[in-house]
């Protein structure tokens, strides 16, 4: 059983390395968004199946930020890199403010009805180009 509090130093530099802030888009870094303290515990609760391998992988990283932090995370190998990056990014995108900035409302329930006039007009152009299949004699071949 792992305690996330024991990993906060590692989580801080790993999260910041994977998701730094971006001035151009105005997006915050993982730590600014609250990944280490607020969002990652939620993500790990949702994906408790991945939590043990996440902490095991973190244990293979240095406690404090190395000189080439991204290379250090990549050096864990594809599986561990995937587990760490997936959970950090997954935690980041749990945040409502982040999603608002991206204009992502979540998977909404939509109740639109189709515009038949538009659809009919569109398919008539396709139908006007003629059939698009090979016509074959309907007799049975040798099977």
């Amino acid at each position: 059983m792992y305690n996330i509090d024991d990993f906060q130093t590692r989580i801080a530099w790993v999260a910041e390395t994977l998701i730094p802030s971006d001035v151009k888009s105005g997006m915050p870094s993982a730590t600014e968004a609250g990944v280490p303290g607020r969002l990652l515990p939620r993500a790990l609760k949702e994906r408790d199946d991945l939590a043990p391998s996440f902490f095991k992988a973190l244990l293979r990283l240095p406690e404090t930020r190395p000189r080439d932090p991204l290379d250090a995370i990549r050096a864990l190998g594809a599986d561990d890199f995937h587990t760490i990056s997936f959970l950090i990014a997954g935690a980041y995108f749990l945040d409502e403010a982040i999603n608002r900035k991206l204009r992502y409302p979540g998977q909404e329930a939509l109740y639109e009805t189709p515009d038949y006039d538009e659809i009919m007009e569109a398919i008539e152009r396709v139908q006007a180009r003629g059939s698009v299949y090979v016509d074959v004699p309907e007799g049975r071949g040798s099977a």
């Binding site: 390395t17 994977l18 998701i19 730094p20 971006d22 151009k24 888009s25 997006m27 993500a43 949702e46 994906r47 199946d49 991204l70 990549r74 890199f81 990056s85 997936f86 990014a89 997954g90 935690a91 995108f93 749990l94 409502e96 982040i98 999603n99 991206l102 204009r103 992502y104 979540g106 998977q107 909404e108 329930a109 939509l110 109740y111 639109e112 009805t113 189709p114 515009d115 538009e118 659809i119 569109a122 398919i123 152009r125 396709v126 139908q127 180009r129 003629g130 059939s131 698009v132 299949y133 090979v134 016509d135 074959v136 004699p137 309907e138 007799g139 049975r140 071949g141 040798s142 099977a143």
Partner: protein, 552 residues
């Protein structure tokens, strides 16, 4: 043995509660036949899908992952894929893989039944489009197919029972591009209800189709067929893993031996007719594991073809990146639109047959830094993270390119000599290599799809060649045909060797076509069931099974 100890002898024992098993169970029970179905899994627990919150993307692959080797649920069995270019995907439980299918719905084209005649390669089917058409029509109603009829990529008569989804901005972009290119496209046909129909609710387009539909709109047979089956008296035995189809001294099937995965106890379920509907991996696995002194190479395998000619519709993608922002994360997922412009053999190419293209949504922000449909994601981290998300989220679309797979006896399902499942049954081993024809076909279609995306306004395209974890369609491994020397079952799914043994699933398909096969698989199951009903008086039944009957 007292009468109380004797198991009931059913008219029909079905292995597998997926689409084919459900279609057969329902139709046979409607005619008053007693039916029992042995299913190795349980009903899906849709409450395990976090469909509506921001947790959706993080959690969707936990319980409802499509790769059994990753999911490792108790009902799954291991599949050795070390020698395969493509990994088979499936759901082992009530509903079968319809629980996870995207629900893009198609018929085969007339030429798909006549590949030998038309192209001089592979094989013709022992039935044709006209033979199957009435059954397509019936299952399309049962499976709540929505879309627009009149597609010129099919002969007249492919009418869709339910109304379509609205066109999205993504559809409009690609439709306009194909109009300019003179290429076919059509609004997506999906077995997803757009209005209340057959126990399904109208789809609200959350896009969770391939991870279990929480909203109850997708036509998975746990919802469309099994409630009716249960009302008709079909007995559904969950957690029942079939180990062997047994035969008597008269060479006829007597029933199925299965293990109750909860108690660990082994049982024999007798039946007059046995139907195996366990998918293109599970069905040959069961038949091969049913070997006996009378059938040393596996049951129904005098042709030696059980397990061979495996086809899996190799799949690649072409994504387009656009400047403008548009909704690209909702459902159906499912197909928004499709193109069959390049689905059959052309004179100007160096390969046979073709591919279907399906226009797909992209998912939410987390998907923009994943591998699908982008290929690798090693370079999206650090300073590239935000530019990547900004570039892809709400500004991308992709064509899924589904290649027709040609049969090859080297591609096969066999029993693994070492690996077993939790109950000691040999695991399946899949040996599969994509052919040069497949690579050429994919390459050509991806080049055309790049043209399509560019014409639609994409400033950049990303081509992902054949992807490994895309074996949704597992076909051909128990081939049907007229000749017992070159096929396992006849045109009605009846074993040439064991006349009261039927196979009903995608494994019987002699060629794969280039489209999603559930419509064809379901239509075949219905056609075969009608044949069983029609021939029930003359159906040979094992004396051994009859001897177990209780009462008159």
């Amino acid at each position: 043995m007292t009468n109380e100890d004797r198991p009931t002898v059913y008219d029909v024992v079905i292995v597998g509660a997926g689409p084919s098993g459900a279609v057969a169970a329902k139709r046979l029970a409607e005619e008053g036949m007693s039916v029992i179905c042995l299913e190795q899994g349980e009903y899906p627990d849709y409450t395990k899908l976090r469909h509506s919150g921001f947790e959706f993307e993080l959690t969707k692959n936990q319980y409802f992952a499509s790769n059994p080797n990753r999911r490792k649920a108790p009902s799954d069995y291991p599949i050795n894929v070390n020698s395969s270019d493509v990994e088979p995907l499936m759901w082992n439980g009530v509903g079968g893989s319809s629980v996870l299918y995207a629900a893009a719905w198609h018929r085969l084209k007339p030429s798909d039944f006549r590949v030998r005649t038309v192209d001089g390669i592979a094989d013709d089917w022992p039935l044709n489009y006209a033979d199957l058409e009435p059954f397509y029509t019936r299952v399309e109603n049962d499976f709540a197919v929505s879309g627009v009829g009149g597609d010129p990529a099919y002969p007249p008569g492919f009418d869709i029972p339910l109304p379509p989804f609205p066109l999205s901005e993504m559809d409009r972009k690609l439709a306009a591009a194909h109009d300019r290119l003179g290429w076919h496209w059509w609004p997506g046909s999906n077995s997803i209800a757009t209005v209340k129909h057959n126990g399904l609710l109208p789809c609200v387009r959350r896009g969770a189709c391939t991870w279990g539909c929480f909203d109850g709109a997708k036509a998975s047979v746990d919802r469309t067929h099994w409630p009716a089956c249960i009302k008709l008296g079909v007995k559904l035995v969950q957690n029942a893993r079939a180990l062997r189809v047994e035969t008597g001294s008269d060479g006829l099937a007597t029933g199925v031996t299965y293990v109750d995965r909860v108690t660990g106890r082994t049982h024999f379920q007798p039946g007059r007719t046995v139907i195996v509907s366990a998918n293109g991996v599970g069905t040959p696995r069961l038949l091969l594991n049913s070997a006996s002194s009378d059938h040393p190479n596996g049951l129904a395998n005098s042709s030696g073809l059980v397990g061979k000619r495996l086809m899996m519709h190799p799949y690649g993608t072409v994504s387009g990146l656009f400047d403008d922002f548009f909704e690209n994360w909702q459902g159906p997922y499912g197909q928004r639109s499709y193109s069959l412009e390049f689905a059959e053999t052309r004179k100007d190419t160096n390969f046979y047959r073709g591919a279907k293209w399906q226009l797909m949504g992209m998912g939410g922000p987390l998907a923009t830094v994943g591998t699908w449909p982008w290929g690798g994601n090693g370079d999206v981290w650090g300073e590239n993270f935000h530019p990547t998300v900004q570039k892809r989220f709400g500004r991308s679309a992709y064509w899924g390119i589904m290649a027709e797979d040609l049969p090859n006896e080297e591609n096969m399902v066999s029993l693994d000599p070492d690996l077993t499942d939790a109950d000691g049954m040999p695991a399946a081993k899949v040996t599969y290599k994509a052919s040069q024809n497949t690579w050429d076909l994919l390459h050509y279609n991806q080049e055309r799809a790049v043209e399509s995306m560019r014409e639609a306004g994409a400033y950049e395209t990303v081509v992902m060649p054949l992807q490994r974890e895309t074996g949704w369609h597992i076909l051909g491994s128990v081939r049907m045909g007229d000749d017992p020397r070159t096929s396992v079952v006849d045109s009605f799914g009846r074993s040439h060797d064991v006349p009261n043994l039927f196979v009903m699933d995608g494994s019987v398909m002699p060629t794969s076509g280039a489209v999603n096969p559930t419509g064809t698989v379901a239509a075949l199951a219905l056609r075969n069931s009608e044949a069983i009903i029609e021939n029930r008086r003359s159906q040979p039944v094992s004396n051994a099974a009859e001897a177990l009957r209780v009462g008159p």
